[in-house]
Amino acid sequence: MRHYYLEKTSMGKFIESLKEGYRVVAPIKKENQFVFAKVESAGEVELEYLPTVLPPKKYLFPQKEKLGTFDMGDTKLTDTSVEVEPMIIFAAHTCDIEGLECLDVVFNSDPADPYYKARKKSLLIIGFECMVPCDEYATCRTMDTHNPKAGYDVMITDVGSKYVLHVNSKEGKDLLEGNSALLDAGNGEAKTLLAKTREEKLKRFDNKLKPEFSRLARLFGDSYTSPVWDEVGEKCLSCGNCTAVCPTCYCLDMYDKVKLDTTGGERKRVWDSCQLEEFASVAGGENFREERSSRQRHRYYRKFDYSVKKYHKFFCTGCGRCSRTCMAGISLIETVNSLDEENENV
Protein backbone atom coordinates (compact mmCIF):
# COMPACT_ATOMS: atom_id res chain seq x y z
CA MET A 1 0.00 0.00 0.00
CA ARG A 2 1.10 3.54 -0.56
CA HIS A 3 2.58 6.26 1.63
CA TYR A 4 2.02 9.98 1.86
CA TYR A 5 3.89 12.81 3.54
CA LEU A 6 2.14 15.43 5.59
CA GLU A 7 3.93 18.62 6.61
CA LYS A 8 3.55 19.29 10.34
CA THR A 9 2.06 22.69 9.61
CA SER A 10 -0.62 21.08 7.43
CA MET A 11 -2.03 18.77 10.12
CA GLY A 12 -4.87 21.18 10.92
CA LYS A 13 -5.83 21.45 7.30
CA PHE A 14 -5.75 17.67 6.99
CA ILE A 15 -8.08 17.17 9.95
CA GLU A 16 -10.49 19.82 8.65
CA SER A 17 -10.58 18.01 5.30
CA LEU A 18 -11.56 14.75 6.97
CA LYS A 19 -14.45 16.48 8.70
CA GLU A 20 -16.07 17.23 5.36
CA GLY A 21 -17.42 13.73 4.87
CA TYR A 22 -17.25 12.22 8.34
CA ARG A 23 -17.86 12.71 11.97
CA VAL A 24 -14.28 12.82 13.21
CA VAL A 25 -13.63 11.76 16.78
CA ALA A 26 -10.20 12.25 18.30
CA PRO A 27 -8.43 12.69 21.65
CA ILE A 28 -9.42 15.98 23.17
CA LYS A 29 -8.39 17.43 26.52
CA LYS A 30 -11.02 17.28 29.26
CA GLU A 31 -9.88 18.80 32.52
CA ASN A 32 -6.59 17.05 33.21
CA GLN A 33 -7.37 13.96 31.17
CA PHE A 34 -8.09 13.05 27.57
CA VAL A 35 -11.24 11.68 25.98
CA PHE A 36 -12.27 10.62 22.51
CA ALA A 37 -14.87 13.15 21.42
CA LYS A 38 -16.23 14.79 18.30
CA VAL A 39 -13.82 17.28 16.78
CA GLU A 40 -15.42 20.68 16.30
CA SER A 41 -12.24 22.35 15.14
CA ALA A 42 -8.88 20.81 14.31
CA GLY A 43 -7.15 22.84 17.00
CA GLU A 44 -8.80 20.77 19.74
CA VAL A 45 -7.13 17.57 18.69
CA GLU A 46 -4.33 16.47 20.99
CA LEU A 47 -1.75 14.34 19.23
CA GLU A 48 0.48 13.82 22.26
CA TYR A 49 -1.90 12.33 24.77
CA LEU A 50 -2.04 9.79 27.56
CA PRO A 51 -4.56 7.00 26.90
CA THR A 52 -8.06 8.45 26.96
CA VAL A 53 -10.38 7.78 29.91
CA LEU A 54 -12.45 5.40 27.79
CA PRO A 55 -11.03 3.57 24.80
CA PRO A 56 -12.65 4.04 21.38
CA LYS A 57 -14.68 0.85 21.90
CA LYS A 58 -17.50 3.16 22.98
CA TYR A 59 -18.12 4.01 19.31
CA LEU A 60 -18.63 0.39 18.29
CA PHE A 61 -20.11 -1.00 21.48
CA PRO A 62 -21.81 1.92 23.24
CA GLN A 63 -22.19 1.91 27.01
CA LYS A 64 -25.94 1.73 26.52
CA GLU A 65 -27.68 0.74 23.37
CA LYS A 66 -31.22 0.14 22.23
CA LEU A 67 -31.98 -3.31 20.89
CA GLY A 68 -35.57 -2.50 20.04
CA THR A 69 -38.79 -0.81 21.13
CA PHE A 70 -41.81 -2.58 22.60
CA ASP A 71 -45.38 -1.97 23.57
CA MET A 72 -46.32 -3.34 26.94
CA GLY A 73 -48.13 -6.65 26.70
CA ASP A 74 -46.79 -7.32 23.21
CA THR A 75 -44.10 -9.86 22.37
CA LYS A 76 -42.65 -8.14 19.30
CA LEU A 77 -39.68 -5.81 19.25
CA THR A 78 -40.10 -3.02 16.72
CA ASP A 79 -37.76 -0.25 15.63
CA THR A 80 -34.92 -2.71 15.56
CA SER A 81 -32.64 -0.69 13.36
CA VAL A 82 -29.36 0.89 14.30
CA GLU A 83 -28.36 4.37 13.22
CA VAL A 84 -24.81 4.54 11.98
CA GLU A 85 -22.88 7.53 10.84
CA PRO A 86 -19.75 7.60 8.72
CA MET A 87 -17.06 8.11 11.31
CA ILE A 88 -13.33 8.43 11.55
CA ILE A 89 -11.54 7.57 14.76
CA PHE A 90 -8.56 9.86 14.47
CA ALA A 91 -5.21 9.54 16.22
CA ALA A 92 -5.91 6.19 17.88
CA HIS A 93 -2.90 4.64 19.58
CA THR A 94 -1.74 1.24 18.39
CA CYS A 95 -2.81 -0.32 21.71
CA ASP A 96 -6.36 0.91 21.19
CA ILE A 97 -6.36 -0.34 17.61
CA GLU A 98 -5.37 -3.74 18.97
CA GLY A 99 -8.28 -3.42 21.42
CA LEU A 100 -10.67 -3.00 18.51
CA GLU A 101 -9.05 -6.01 16.84
CA CYS A 102 -9.92 -8.06 19.93
CA LEU A 103 -13.52 -6.82 19.95
CA ASP A 104 -13.74 -7.67 16.25
CA VAL A 105 -12.95 -11.29 17.03
CA VAL A 106 -15.57 -11.47 19.78
CA PHE A 107 -18.39 -9.67 18.02
CA ASN A 108 -17.79 -11.45 14.72
CA SER A 109 -17.77 -14.88 16.34
CA ASP A 110 -20.82 -16.91 15.52
CA PRO A 111 -23.44 -15.55 15.93
CA ALA A 112 -22.01 -12.22 14.79
CA ASP A 113 -23.33 -9.14 16.55
CA PRO A 114 -25.37 -7.09 14.06
CA TYR A 115 -25.03 -3.80 15.97
CA TYR A 116 -21.25 -3.95 16.20
CA LYS A 117 -20.96 -5.04 12.58
CA ALA A 118 -23.12 -2.21 11.27
CA ARG A 119 -21.06 0.38 13.13
CA LYS A 120 -17.72 -1.14 12.18
CA LYS A 121 -18.71 -1.05 8.53
CA SER A 122 -19.09 2.72 8.54
CA LEU A 123 -15.91 3.37 10.50
CA LEU A 124 -12.43 4.35 9.41
CA ILE A 125 -9.48 4.21 11.76
CA ILE A 126 -6.59 6.60 11.46
CA GLY A 127 -3.88 5.75 13.94
CA PHE A 128 -1.19 7.96 15.39
CA GLU A 129 1.96 6.12 16.34
CA CYS A 130 3.42 6.64 19.82
CA MET A 131 7.06 7.69 19.85
CA VAL A 132 7.51 7.49 23.60
CA PRO A 133 5.85 5.21 26.17
CA CYS A 134 2.97 7.15 27.71
CA ASP A 135 3.68 6.55 31.41
CA GLU A 136 4.71 4.02 34.03
CA TYR A 137 1.53 1.96 33.57
CA ALA A 138 1.78 1.05 29.89
CA THR A 139 3.03 -2.42 29.00
CA CYS A 140 2.68 -2.13 25.23
CA ARG A 141 6.27 -3.23 24.58
CA THR A 142 5.74 -6.59 26.30
CA MET A 143 2.31 -7.04 24.73
CA ASP A 144 3.86 -6.20 21.36
CA THR A 145 1.33 -3.46 20.62
CA HIS A 146 3.78 -0.53 20.53
CA ASN A 147 4.16 -0.66 16.73
CA PRO A 148 1.43 -0.49 14.11
CA LYS A 149 0.61 -3.93 12.79
CA ALA A 150 -2.96 -4.24 11.60
CA GLY A 151 -6.49 -3.02 12.15
CA TYR A 152 -6.14 0.52 10.78
CA ASP A 153 -6.92 2.23 7.51
CA VAL A 154 -4.22 4.88 7.83
CA MET A 155 -1.31 5.21 10.27
CA ILE A 156 0.36 8.52 10.93
CA THR A 157 3.97 8.42 12.09
CA ASP A 158 6.06 11.39 13.14
CA VAL A 159 9.42 10.86 11.48
CA GLY A 160 10.89 14.09 12.82
CA SER A 161 10.65 16.68 10.11
CA LYS A 162 7.22 15.59 8.91
CA TYR A 163 4.56 12.88 9.18
CA VAL A 164 4.46 9.71 7.13
CA LEU A 165 0.99 8.32 6.43
CA HIS A 166 0.79 4.62 5.71
CA VAL A 167 -2.33 3.59 3.84
CA ASN A 168 -3.41 0.13 4.88
CA SER A 169 -6.80 -0.50 3.26
CA LYS A 170 -8.83 0.27 0.18
CA GLU A 171 -11.08 2.47 2.30
CA GLY A 172 -8.02 4.37 3.50
CA LYS A 173 -6.79 4.76 -0.06
CA ASP A 174 -10.13 6.13 -1.22
CA LEU A 175 -10.23 8.50 1.73
CA LEU A 176 -6.84 10.08 1.08
CA GLU A 177 -6.79 10.10 -2.69
CA GLY A 178 -6.54 13.64 -4.02
CA ASN A 179 -6.28 15.21 -0.54
CA SER A 180 -4.52 18.52 -1.10
CA ALA A 181 -2.86 18.51 2.33
CA LEU A 182 -0.83 15.44 1.40
CA LEU A 183 2.24 14.87 -0.73
CA ASP A 184 2.86 11.62 -2.50
CA ALA A 185 5.76 9.73 -0.98
CA GLY A 186 7.85 7.22 -2.80
CA ASN A 187 7.29 3.89 -1.12
CA GLY A 188 10.97 3.08 -0.78
CA GLU A 189 11.90 6.36 0.87
CA ALA A 190 8.95 6.36 3.26
CA LYS A 191 9.64 2.80 4.31
CA THR A 192 13.27 3.61 5.03
CA LEU A 193 12.23 6.62 7.10
CA LEU A 194 9.72 4.52 9.07
CA ALA A 195 12.20 1.73 9.69
CA LYS A 196 14.80 4.18 10.99
CA THR A 197 12.25 5.91 13.19
CA ARG A 198 11.12 2.62 14.71
CA GLU A 199 14.64 1.48 15.38
CA GLU A 200 15.25 4.69 17.35
CA LYS A 201 11.84 4.44 19.01
CA LEU A 202 12.44 0.94 20.32
CA LYS A 203 15.28 2.23 22.52
CA ARG A 204 12.76 4.33 24.44
CA PHE A 205 10.25 1.51 25.03
CA ASP A 206 11.18 -0.77 27.90
CA ASN A 207 9.66 -4.05 29.06
CA LYS A 208 7.91 -3.35 32.34
CA LEU A 209 6.59 -6.87 32.58
CA LYS A 210 9.25 -9.36 33.66
CA PRO A 211 7.86 -12.35 31.77
CA GLU A 212 8.32 -12.11 28.05
CA PHE A 213 5.39 -12.20 25.64
CA SER A 214 6.12 -15.81 24.74
CA ARG A 215 6.09 -16.88 28.40
CA LEU A 216 2.91 -15.11 29.47
CA ALA A 217 0.44 -17.82 28.48
CA ARG A 218 2.42 -20.51 30.30
CA LEU A 219 2.83 -18.29 33.37
CA PHE A 220 -0.94 -17.92 33.65
CA GLY A 221 -1.34 -21.63 33.00
CA ASP A 222 0.69 -22.22 36.17
CA SER A 223 -0.81 -19.47 38.33
CA TYR A 224 -4.48 -20.35 38.79
CA THR A 225 -4.10 -21.21 42.46
CA SER A 226 -1.50 -18.57 43.25
CA PRO A 227 -1.77 -16.64 46.56
CA VAL A 228 -1.25 -13.48 44.50
CA TRP A 229 -5.00 -13.56 43.73
CA ASP A 230 -5.80 -13.30 47.42
CA GLU A 231 -3.52 -10.27 47.69
CA VAL A 232 -5.21 -8.62 44.72
CA GLY A 233 -8.64 -9.55 46.08
CA GLU A 234 -7.76 -7.98 49.45
CA LYS A 235 -7.18 -4.64 47.76
CA CYS A 236 -10.06 -4.74 45.29
CA LEU A 237 -13.14 -2.59 46.00
CA SER A 238 -15.28 -4.31 43.33
CA CYS A 239 -16.07 -1.00 41.69
CA GLY A 240 -15.76 -2.25 38.13
CA ASN A 241 -13.68 0.72 36.90
CA CYS A 242 -11.00 -1.57 35.49
CA THR A 243 -13.42 -3.36 33.19
CA ALA A 244 -15.22 -0.18 32.10
CA VAL A 245 -12.00 1.41 30.85
CA CYS A 246 -10.57 -1.79 29.34
CA PRO A 247 -10.43 -1.69 25.55
CA THR A 248 -11.24 -5.41 25.31
CA CYS A 249 -13.87 -5.93 28.02
CA TYR A 250 -17.21 -6.63 26.41
CA CYS A 251 -19.46 -8.14 29.10
CA LEU A 252 -22.98 -6.87 28.96
CA ASP A 253 -26.33 -6.98 30.65
CA MET A 254 -29.77 -6.59 29.15
CA TYR A 255 -32.72 -4.76 30.66
CA ASP A 256 -36.04 -3.19 29.79
CA LYS A 257 -36.40 0.54 30.20
CA VAL A 258 -40.08 1.29 30.62
CA LYS A 259 -41.53 4.67 29.67
CA LEU A 260 -42.99 6.76 32.49
CA ASP A 261 -46.53 6.24 31.16
CA THR A 262 -45.82 2.45 31.22
CA THR A 263 -47.29 1.94 27.73
CA GLY A 264 -44.05 0.59 26.39
CA GLY A 265 -40.33 1.02 26.43
CA GLU A 266 -36.99 -0.07 25.07
CA ARG A 267 -35.02 -3.26 25.46
CA LYS A 268 -31.42 -2.25 26.02
CA ARG A 269 -28.03 -3.65 26.57
CA VAL A 270 -25.49 -2.01 28.78
CA TRP A 271 -21.85 -2.59 29.74
CA ASP A 272 -21.54 -4.92 32.68
CA SER A 273 -18.59 -5.91 34.84
CA CYS A 274 -17.41 -9.30 36.04
CA GLN A 275 -16.00 -7.44 39.05
CA LEU A 276 -19.45 -6.69 40.46
CA GLU A 277 -20.59 -9.08 43.14
CA GLU A 278 -23.83 -10.19 41.46
CA PHE A 279 -22.28 -10.90 38.08
CA ALA A 280 -22.04 -14.69 38.32
CA SER A 281 -24.91 -15.40 40.68
CA VAL A 282 -27.93 -17.47 39.66
CA ALA A 283 -31.58 -17.38 40.63
CA GLY A 284 -31.17 -20.08 43.26
CA GLY A 285 -28.77 -17.84 45.20
CA GLU A 286 -25.50 -19.54 44.28
CA ASN A 287 -22.70 -17.13 43.34
CA PHE A 288 -19.96 -18.78 41.32
CA ARG A 289 -17.45 -15.99 41.92
CA GLU A 290 -18.37 -14.76 45.33
CA GLU A 291 -14.87 -13.70 46.40
CA ARG A 292 -13.20 -10.59 45.06
CA SER A 293 -10.04 -12.63 44.57
CA SER A 294 -11.86 -14.99 42.22
CA ARG A 295 -13.38 -12.09 40.31
CA GLN A 296 -10.01 -10.36 39.90
CA ARG A 297 -8.43 -13.62 38.82
CA HIS A 298 -11.23 -14.00 36.30
CA ARG A 299 -10.47 -10.54 34.88
CA TYR A 300 -6.78 -11.29 34.47
CA TYR A 301 -7.48 -14.71 32.99
CA ARG A 302 -9.83 -13.18 30.48
CA LYS A 303 -6.89 -11.11 29.29
CA PHE A 304 -4.03 -13.61 29.45
CA ASP A 305 -5.43 -17.14 29.41
CA TYR A 306 -9.11 -17.71 28.53
CA SER A 307 -8.90 -15.36 25.55
CA VAL A 308 -5.87 -17.25 24.28
CA LYS A 309 -7.77 -20.54 24.57
CA LYS A 310 -10.96 -19.20 23.06
CA TYR A 311 -9.81 -16.60 20.56
CA HIS A 312 -6.06 -17.30 20.22
CA LYS A 313 -5.23 -13.79 21.32
CA PHE A 314 -4.11 -11.94 24.41
CA PHE A 315 -6.84 -9.54 25.37
CA CYS A 316 -4.46 -7.19 27.19
CA THR A 317 -3.29 -4.44 24.88
CA GLY A 318 -0.87 -2.97 27.41
CA CYS A 319 -2.69 0.36 27.48
CA GLY A 320 -2.43 0.55 31.28
CA ARG A 321 -5.92 1.96 31.81
CA CYS A 322 -6.94 -0.62 34.45
CA SER A 323 -3.97 0.29 36.65
CA ARG A 324 -4.28 4.01 35.98
CA THR A 325 -7.93 4.06 37.01
CA CYS A 326 -7.86 1.67 39.97
CA MET A 327 -8.84 3.45 43.18
CA ALA A 328 -7.27 0.70 45.24
CA GLY A 329 -3.95 0.86 43.45
CA ILE A 330 -4.09 -2.59 41.87
CA SER A 331 -1.35 -2.59 39.28
CA LEU A 332 -1.29 -5.00 36.38
CA ILE A 333 2.49 -4.78 36.25
CA GLU A 334 2.79 -5.64 39.95
CA THR A 335 0.33 -8.52 39.65
CA VAL A 336 1.97 -10.11 36.63
CA ASN A 337 5.47 -9.59 38.01
CA SER A 338 4.45 -11.12 41.35
CA LEU A 339 3.10 -14.16 39.54
CA ASP A 340 6.36 -14.37 37.65
CA GLU A 341 8.47 -14.07 40.76
CA GLU A 342 6.47 -16.73 42.53
CA ASN A 343 6.64 -18.97 39.50
CA GLU A 344 10.43 -18.70 39.37
CA ASN A 345 10.72 -19.60 43.04
CA VAL A 346 8.78 -22.84 42.63
Binding site: S17, E20, G21, G68, F70, D71, M72, G73, D74, T75, K76, L77, T80, S81, V82, E83, V84, E85, P86, V106, F107, S109, D110, P111, D113, P114, S122, D174, L175, G178, Y224, Y250, C251, L252, D253, M254, D256, V258, T262, G264, G265, R267, R269, D272, C274, F279, A280, S281, V282, A283, G284, E286, F288, R289, H298, Y301, R302, Y306, K309, K310
Partner: protein, 285 residues
Protein backbone atom coordinates in the same frame (compact mmCIF):
# COMPACT_ATOMS: atom_id res chain seq x y z
CA UNK B 1 -13.43 11.79 -0.85
CA UNK B 2 -16.54 10.05 0.26
CA UNK B 3 -19.65 12.14 0.20
CA UNK B 4 -21.52 9.89 2.57
CA UNK B 5 -22.40 12.71 4.90
CA UNK B 6 -25.78 11.35 5.97
CA UNK B 7 -26.49 9.00 8.80
CA UNK B 8 -27.72 5.66 7.70
CA UNK B 9 -30.39 3.63 9.39
CA UNK B 10 -29.48 -0.01 9.09
CA UNK B 11 -31.88 -2.85 9.79
CA UNK B 12 -30.05 -5.45 11.85
CA UNK B 13 -30.36 -9.23 12.10
CA UNK B 14 -33.02 -10.42 14.48
CA UNK B 15 -30.54 -11.85 16.94
CA UNK B 16 -32.15 -10.36 20.03
CA UNK B 17 -35.79 -10.41 18.93
CA UNK B 18 -38.02 -12.92 20.60
CA UNK B 19 -40.44 -15.11 18.70
CA UNK B 20 -44.02 -14.99 19.88
CA UNK B 21 -45.30 -17.80 22.04
CA UNK B 22 -48.72 -18.40 23.58
CA UNK B 23 -49.27 -20.27 26.80
CA UNK B 24 -51.63 -23.15 26.05
CA UNK B 25 -51.50 -25.05 29.33
CA UNK B 26 -50.65 -24.23 32.93
CA UNK B 27 -50.44 -26.66 35.79
CA UNK B 28 -49.54 -25.99 39.40
CA UNK B 29 -46.99 -28.69 40.21
CA UNK B 30 -46.06 -27.86 43.81
CA UNK B 31 -46.43 -24.84 46.04
CA UNK B 32 -43.68 -23.01 44.12
CA UNK B 33 -43.44 -24.73 40.75
CA UNK B 34 -45.67 -24.33 37.74
CA UNK B 35 -45.70 -26.20 34.47
CA UNK B 36 -46.31 -24.31 31.22
CA UNK B 37 -46.88 -25.51 27.69
CA UNK B 38 -46.07 -22.84 25.12
CA UNK B 39 -47.03 -22.78 21.45
CA UNK B 40 -44.95 -20.74 19.01
CA UNK B 41 -46.87 -18.57 16.55
CA UNK B 42 -47.15 -19.33 12.85
CA UNK B 43 -46.71 -23.06 13.40
CA UNK B 44 -43.03 -22.61 14.19
CA UNK B 45 -41.22 -25.50 15.84
CA UNK B 46 -38.70 -24.83 18.58
CA UNK B 47 -36.58 -27.75 17.38
CA UNK B 48 -34.79 -28.17 20.69
CA UNK B 49 -32.50 -31.01 21.64
CA UNK B 50 -32.74 -32.44 25.18
CA UNK B 51 -30.78 -30.22 27.57
CA UNK B 52 -31.10 -26.98 25.64
CA UNK B 53 -32.63 -23.80 27.04
CA UNK B 54 -34.61 -20.80 25.85
CA UNK B 55 -34.62 -17.14 26.83
CA UNK B 56 -38.16 -16.28 27.82
CA UNK B 57 -39.12 -12.67 27.58
CA UNK B 58 -41.73 -10.39 29.07
CA UNK B 59 -41.41 -6.77 28.02
CA UNK B 60 -41.03 -4.44 30.93
CA UNK B 61 -39.61 -7.22 33.06
CA UNK B 62 -36.85 -8.66 30.92
CA UNK B 63 -35.54 -12.04 29.96
CA UNK B 64 -34.61 -15.18 31.83
CA UNK B 65 -32.91 -18.39 30.73
CA UNK B 66 -35.25 -21.34 31.23
CA UNK B 67 -34.52 -25.03 30.60
CA UNK B 68 -36.80 -26.76 28.16
CA UNK B 69 -38.42 -29.71 29.86
CA UNK B 70 -39.95 -31.41 26.83
CA UNK B 71 -38.33 -33.66 24.30
CA UNK B 72 -38.20 -33.00 20.56
CA UNK B 73 -39.73 -36.45 20.16
CA UNK B 74 -43.07 -35.28 21.58
CA UNK B 75 -46.01 -35.58 19.27
CA UNK B 76 -47.06 -31.94 18.92
CA UNK B 77 -43.88 -30.26 17.72
CA UNK B 78 -45.46 -26.78 17.76
CA UNK B 79 -45.38 -26.62 21.54
CA UNK B 80 -42.70 -27.03 24.17
CA UNK B 81 -42.84 -27.39 27.93
CA UNK B 82 -41.15 -25.72 30.85
CA UNK B 83 -41.44 -25.99 34.61
CA UNK B 84 -40.52 -22.93 36.61
CA UNK B 85 -39.96 -22.23 40.28
CA UNK B 86 -41.22 -18.89 41.55
CA UNK B 87 -38.06 -17.32 42.89
CA UNK B 88 -37.43 -13.84 41.45
CA UNK B 89 -39.06 -10.95 39.61
CA UNK B 90 -39.25 -12.71 36.27
CA UNK B 91 -40.52 -16.04 37.52
CA UNK B 92 -43.09 -14.38 39.77
CA UNK B 93 -44.44 -12.51 36.76
CA UNK B 94 -44.41 -15.71 34.73
CA UNK B 95 -46.43 -17.48 37.40
CA UNK B 96 -49.07 -14.77 37.07
CA UNK B 97 -49.63 -15.67 33.41
CA UNK B 98 -52.38 -18.00 32.30
CA UNK B 99 -53.65 -19.86 29.26
CA UNK B 100 -53.84 -17.54 26.25
CA UNK B 101 -51.20 -15.11 27.50
CA UNK B 102 -48.31 -14.27 25.20
CA UNK B 103 -44.64 -14.64 25.98
CA UNK B 104 -41.45 -13.95 24.01
CA UNK B 105 -39.12 -16.83 23.20
CA UNK B 106 -35.51 -16.80 21.95
CA UNK B 107 -33.64 -19.98 21.27
CA UNK B 108 -33.13 -22.84 21.66
CA UNK B 109 -29.60 -22.26 22.91
CA UNK B 110 -26.69 -24.37 24.03
CA UNK B 111 -25.30 -27.81 23.42
CA UNK B 112 -27.81 -30.47 24.38
CA UNK B 113 -27.06 -33.88 25.85
CA UNK B 114 -24.95 -36.08 23.54
CA UNK B 115 -27.85 -38.37 22.65
CA UNK B 116 -25.96 -40.17 19.88
CA UNK B 117 -23.14 -40.99 22.25
CA UNK B 118 -25.63 -42.31 24.80
CA UNK B 119 -27.31 -44.69 22.35
CA UNK B 120 -26.87 -48.38 23.06
CA UNK B 121 -25.77 -47.73 26.63
CA UNK B 122 -27.38 -48.19 30.02
CA UNK B 123 -28.35 -44.90 31.60
CA UNK B 124 -28.29 -43.77 35.18
CA UNK B 125 -30.26 -40.55 35.61
CA UNK B 126 -29.64 -38.62 38.81
CA UNK B 127 -31.74 -35.55 39.52
CA UNK B 128 -31.68 -33.36 42.58
CA UNK B 129 -34.43 -30.81 43.25
CA UNK B 130 -35.24 -28.84 40.11
CA UNK B 131 -32.68 -30.89 38.18
CA UNK B 132 -35.48 -33.16 37.02
CA UNK B 133 -36.87 -30.28 34.92
CA UNK B 134 -34.14 -30.20 32.24
CA UNK B 135 -33.39 -33.89 32.72
CA UNK B 136 -37.00 -34.73 31.84
CA UNK B 137 -36.29 -33.60 28.26
CA UNK B 138 -33.70 -36.37 27.99
CA UNK B 139 -35.65 -39.00 29.93
CA UNK B 140 -38.66 -38.46 27.68
CA UNK B 141 -36.40 -38.64 24.64
CA UNK B 142 -35.07 -41.97 25.88
CA UNK B 143 -38.55 -43.27 26.71
CA UNK B 144 -39.78 -42.32 23.25
CA UNK B 145 -36.86 -44.17 21.69
CA UNK B 146 -36.73 -46.85 24.33
CA UNK B 147 -35.23 -49.60 22.22
CA UNK B 148 -32.20 -47.41 21.34
CA UNK B 149 -31.07 -47.50 24.95
CA UNK B 150 -30.26 -50.16 27.54
CA UNK B 151 -31.31 -50.36 31.17
CA UNK B 152 -32.48 -47.12 32.75
CA UNK B 153 -32.20 -46.21 36.43
CA UNK B 154 -33.72 -42.98 37.67
CA UNK B 155 -32.64 -41.59 41.04
CA UNK B 156 -34.54 -38.60 42.30
CA UNK B 157 -33.78 -36.50 45.35
CA UNK B 158 -35.75 -33.63 46.82
CA UNK B 159 -36.30 -31.87 50.11
CA UNK B 160 -39.72 -33.23 51.04
CA UNK B 161 -42.20 -35.63 49.41
CA UNK B 162 -44.45 -32.70 48.47
CA UNK B 163 -41.60 -31.19 46.38
CA UNK B 164 -41.47 -34.08 43.93
CA UNK B 165 -41.91 -33.05 40.31
CA UNK B 166 -43.21 -35.27 37.50
CA UNK B 167 -43.39 -38.21 39.90
CA UNK B 168 -46.55 -39.59 38.22
CA UNK B 169 -44.80 -39.66 34.88
CA UNK B 170 -41.70 -41.23 36.32
CA UNK B 171 -43.69 -43.93 38.11
CA UNK B 172 -45.35 -44.72 34.80
CA UNK B 173 -42.00 -45.07 33.07
CA UNK B 174 -40.76 -47.27 35.88
CA UNK B 175 -43.41 -49.80 34.94
CA UNK B 176 -41.68 -50.31 31.61
CA UNK B 177 -39.22 -53.17 31.29
CA UNK B 178 -35.64 -52.46 32.37
CA UNK B 179 -36.55 -49.14 33.98
CA UNK B 180 -36.12 -48.53 37.70
CA UNK B 181 -36.99 -45.53 39.79
CA UNK B 182 -35.91 -44.65 43.31
CA UNK B 183 -36.67 -41.48 45.18
CA UNK B 184 -35.21 -40.08 48.37
CA UNK B 185 -36.20 -37.07 50.45
CA UNK B 186 -34.16 -35.01 52.89
CA UNK B 187 -37.12 -34.76 55.26
CA UNK B 188 -39.89 -37.29 55.45
CA UNK B 189 -43.60 -36.74 56.14
CA UNK B 190 -45.99 -39.19 57.88
CA UNK B 191 -47.17 -40.75 54.61
CA UNK B 192 -43.70 -41.21 53.12
CA UNK B 193 -42.61 -44.81 52.84
CA UNK B 194 -39.57 -44.26 50.66
CA UNK B 195 -35.93 -43.44 51.33
CA UNK B 196 -34.77 -40.63 53.55
CA UNK B 197 -31.34 -39.07 53.05
CA UNK B 198 -29.27 -37.27 50.46
CA UNK B 199 -29.18 -38.61 46.93
CA UNK B 200 -25.68 -39.99 47.22
CA UNK B 201 -26.99 -42.60 49.66
CA UNK B 202 -28.84 -44.22 46.74
CA UNK B 203 -25.81 -44.62 44.50
CA UNK B 204 -24.03 -47.55 46.20
CA UNK B 205 -27.22 -49.61 45.86
CA UNK B 206 -27.63 -49.11 42.12
CA UNK B 207 -26.53 -52.07 40.07
CA UNK B 208 -24.69 -50.72 37.05
CA UNK B 209 -22.17 -52.12 34.57
CA UNK B 210 -19.56 -49.35 34.53
CA UNK B 211 -18.40 -50.39 31.06
CA UNK B 212 -21.73 -49.73 29.43
CA UNK B 213 -23.37 -47.09 31.60
CA UNK B 214 -23.53 -43.33 31.31
CA UNK B 215 -24.56 -41.34 34.37
CA UNK B 216 -26.41 -38.11 33.66
CA UNK B 217 -26.58 -35.77 36.64
CA UNK B 218 -28.59 -32.59 37.00
CA UNK B 219 -29.02 -30.79 40.28
CA UNK B 220 -27.89 -27.93 42.47
CA UNK B 221 -24.14 -27.12 42.51
CA UNK B 222 -23.55 -28.74 45.89
CA UNK B 223 -24.88 -32.09 44.64
CA UNK B 224 -22.37 -32.60 41.84
CA UNK B 225 -19.19 -33.06 43.84
CA UNK B 226 -20.57 -35.75 46.12
CA UNK B 227 -22.50 -37.53 43.41
CA UNK B 228 -19.43 -37.63 41.17
CA UNK B 229 -17.34 -38.99 44.04
CA UNK B 230 -19.84 -41.79 44.65
CA UNK B 231 -19.98 -42.66 40.95
CA UNK B 232 -16.20 -42.72 40.65
CA UNK B 233 -16.06 -44.95 43.73
CA UNK B 234 -18.21 -47.38 41.76
CA UNK B 235 -15.61 -47.27 39.01
CA UNK B 236 -17.49 -45.16 36.49
CA UNK B 237 -14.92 -43.34 34.31
CA UNK B 238 -14.98 -39.55 33.86
CA UNK B 239 -15.99 -39.71 30.23
CA UNK B 240 -19.15 -41.57 31.22
CA UNK B 241 -20.37 -38.90 33.61
CA UNK B 242 -22.45 -36.14 32.05
CA UNK B 243 -23.91 -33.15 33.79
CA UNK B 244 -25.84 -30.00 33.10
CA UNK B 245 -24.40 -26.88 34.73
CA UNK B 246 -26.52 -23.94 35.76
CA UNK B 247 -25.21 -20.44 35.09
CA UNK B 248 -26.74 -17.05 34.53
CA UNK B 249 -27.10 -16.74 30.77
CA UNK B 250 -28.11 -13.24 29.70
CA UNK B 251 -27.66 -13.26 25.94
CA UNK B 252 -27.37 -16.92 24.92
CA UNK B 253 -25.06 -15.77 22.15
CA UNK B 254 -21.61 -16.17 23.67
CA UNK B 255 -21.17 -12.45 24.30
CA UNK B 256 -22.46 -11.25 27.66
CA UNK B 257 -19.91 -13.12 29.77
CA UNK B 258 -22.27 -13.98 32.62
CA UNK B 259 -22.28 -17.74 32.09
CA UNK B 260 -18.54 -18.10 31.67
CA UNK B 261 -16.78 -20.99 33.42
CA UNK B 262 -13.08 -20.44 32.91
CA UNK B 263 -12.68 -20.24 29.13
CA UNK B 264 -16.00 -21.90 28.31
CA UNK B 265 -19.32 -20.20 27.72
CA UNK B 266 -22.08 -22.34 29.16
CA UNK B 267 -24.62 -20.92 26.70
CA UNK B 268 -22.64 -22.27 23.73
CA UNK B 269 -20.14 -24.85 25.00
CA UNK B 270 -22.68 -26.22 27.50
CA UNK B 271 -24.89 -26.36 29.48
CA UNK B 272 -24.17 -30.09 29.20
CA UNK B 273 -20.60 -31.19 29.86
CA UNK B 274 -18.84 -34.51 30.19
CA UNK B 275 -16.79 -34.61 33.37
CA UNK B 276 -13.55 -35.16 31.46
CA UNK B 277 -14.18 -31.91 29.57
CA UNK B 278 -14.07 -29.99 32.84
CA UNK B 279 -10.53 -31.05 33.75
CA UNK B 280 -8.54 -27.97 34.72
CA UNK B 281 -11.64 -25.78 34.92
CA UNK B 282 -11.52 -24.70 38.54
CA UNK B 283 -14.81 -22.83 38.46
CA UNK B 284 -16.93 -25.64 37.07
CA UNK B 285 -17.90 -27.59 40.19
Amino acid sequence: MCNCDKNKVVEVDALYYPMEGTIVKVEQMTEYEKFFEIRLSDGKELGNMPGQFVQLSMFGIGEAPISVSSSPTKEDKTTFEICVRKVGTFTNALHALGVGDKIGVRGPFGRGFPVDELKGNDLLFIAGGLGIVPLRSLIRFVMDKRRDFGKVDILLGCKEPKDRLFSNEIEEWARLADTNYTCTVDKSDPEWKGNVGVITTLIPGVDIDVNRTYAVIVGPPIMYKFTIMSLMDKGLPKDRIIMLLERRMKCGLGKCGHCQINHKYVCQDGPTFRLDELTGMGEAL
